[in-house]
Structures are given as structure tokens and as C-alpha cells.
């Protein structure tokens, strides 16, 4: 069964540095998402992406965050200047069509020192 893959599985970064989290969605999916889960808290929506543009974003997704689909397969989340509070598990998800279930990757654990 096709899967959403995320790399790296664990990223350790110094505060203030830029980080890029990578995702390869399922190949025939059209809608893409990023969520995050701070340790001990709920899974929170960050952003959705369709047709090469952001379709929805949460209050968390401020100017420090950006997303990109640089080619036909990758979907990336960039944090420009990381803060300690950005430490979390980041999940990528993709969806074949609107209203269908979202398929999640295994996540990237981001640790900011």
C-alpha cells in the first residue's frame, strides 16, 4: 500500500537556525497538509496546500513558516529561524480528493537546542 514518507525521522537543530522538513506524499494525491504535536499536547493543524498554493493555515503558521512543492513529488516545511517552542513531532499528510481520509507519515521529531 502506498505510504507518505517523511525525512529525517529526527532532526536536532540549534535555536535560530533554519530547518527544512521533507515529505513525499502518495503519488496520486492532490491535497497536502502539515500538522504538529508538541509533547503531551494535541495534534494541531498547521497548513494545507493545493494546486501550488496554501489553501488554509492556522494561527501557528506565522511568517517563520513556509511550505513548498518544489517538484512533482516532494512537499517541504521550512522554519526560518527556529525557537525552542518549535520542538515537536511534525506530521505530513496527503489526501486523494476533498473529503477523503488523510494519510499520515511517521513524522519528524524536531528538537531545538
Amino acid at each position: 500500500e502506498p505510504e507518505v514518507t517523511q525525512t529525517p525521522s529526527h532532526q536536532v537543530t540549534q535555536m535560530g537556525q533554519e530547518v527544512i522538513l521533507r515529505c513525499v506524499p502518495i503519488s496520486n494525491h492532490l491535497y497536502f497538509y502539515w500538522y504538529r504535536q508538541i509533547l503531551g499536547q494535541k495534534v494541531e493543524f498547521l497548513v494545507s496546500f493545493y494546486n501550488n498554493e496554501i489553501s488554509e493555515k492556522s494561527e501557528i503558521f506565522d511568517d517563520q513558516f513556509s511550505v513548498e512543492r518544489p517538484d512533482g513529488s516532494n512537499f517541504t516545511l521550512k522554519i526560518r529561524s527556529t525557537k525552542l517552542e518549535d520542538s515537536a513531532m511534525y506530521f505530513c499528510a496527503s489526501e486523494r480528493a476533498r473529503g477523503q481520509p488523510q494519510h499520515f507519515g511517521d513524522g519528524t521529531r524536531l528538537s531545538i537546542l
Binding site: 499536547q41 494535541k42 493543524f45 489553501s55 476533498r98 488523510q102 494519510h103 499520515f104 511517521d106
Partner: protein, 116 residues
């Protein structure tokens, strides 16, 4: 705005016993409902979904859930659990039919601990 409440953060249960994990949601519009399971060091795997139609939905691994609109609930059940069911379970809602987005709003999760 919508929200999801999972009333139990942990549910310990003995193997082969039945289990119910509770989920309540609030929304001013109709919703789609989902249960996801997360095994240690893995991502979120879809267990089952309610989009429309029959209020009793069956999912993978013998789980089922019942949508109750009047009580705004979507409780997850399994008649006989196995050790391998030990995991974190998340209830989520989407109000897709009512707007262009399909963001999921998650509950806080319930850790199911199956004991031998």
C-alpha cells in the same frame, strides 16, 4: 469553530475484555468524523471514518464506532482487545462539507493499555 474532547486520557483493560473509547465533538455544522491509531514511533493510521449514511461504521482490526448526532459523540468500541491493540487513539473531525478546507481537529488522544 469546532473542538473534540476525548474524555479518558488512559484506559487500562485486560486482554479479551471489551473496550470503549469516548469521543465528543462540538460543531455548529455537520462534520466528518475519524478515528486514528498511533503505535509507538509510528504515524497516524486511519482506523475508521464516518462521512454519511449508516451511523455504525466498521473499521480495521475489529474496531467499530457509532455516530450519535443528538449526543455529538463518536465512541470507538471493540468487543475483545488484544495486546497488540496497545496504542494511542485519536478522534478527529473535519467540517469539509461546509467549507473549502479539510483541516482535521484532533482530540487529546486516549492511551489504550491492554494487560495480559
Amino acid at each position: 469553530a469546532q473542538s473534540v474532547t476525548q474524555l479518558d486520557s488512559q484506559v487500562p483493560v485486560f486482554e479479551e475484555a471489551p473496550v470503549e473509547l469516548r469521543c465528543n465533538y462540538s460543531s455548529s455544522v455537520s462534520v466528518y468524523l475519524f478515528w486514528y491509531v498511533q503505535y509507538p514511533n509510528q504515524g497516524l493510521q486511519l482506523l475508521l471514518k464516518y462521512l454519511s449514511g449508516s451511523t455504525l461504521v466498521k473499521g480495521i482490526n475489529g474496531f467499530e464506532a457509532e455516530f450519535n448526532k443528538s449526543q455529538t459523540s463518536f465512541h470507538l468500541r471493540k468487543p475483545s482487545v488484544h495486546i497488540s491493540d496497545t496504542a494511542e487513539y485519536f478522534c478527529a473531525v473535519s467540517n469539509f462539507p461546509n467549507n473549502a478546507g479539510n483541516m482535521l481537529t484532533f482530540g487529546g488522544g486516549t492511551r489504550l493499555m491492554v494487560k495480559p
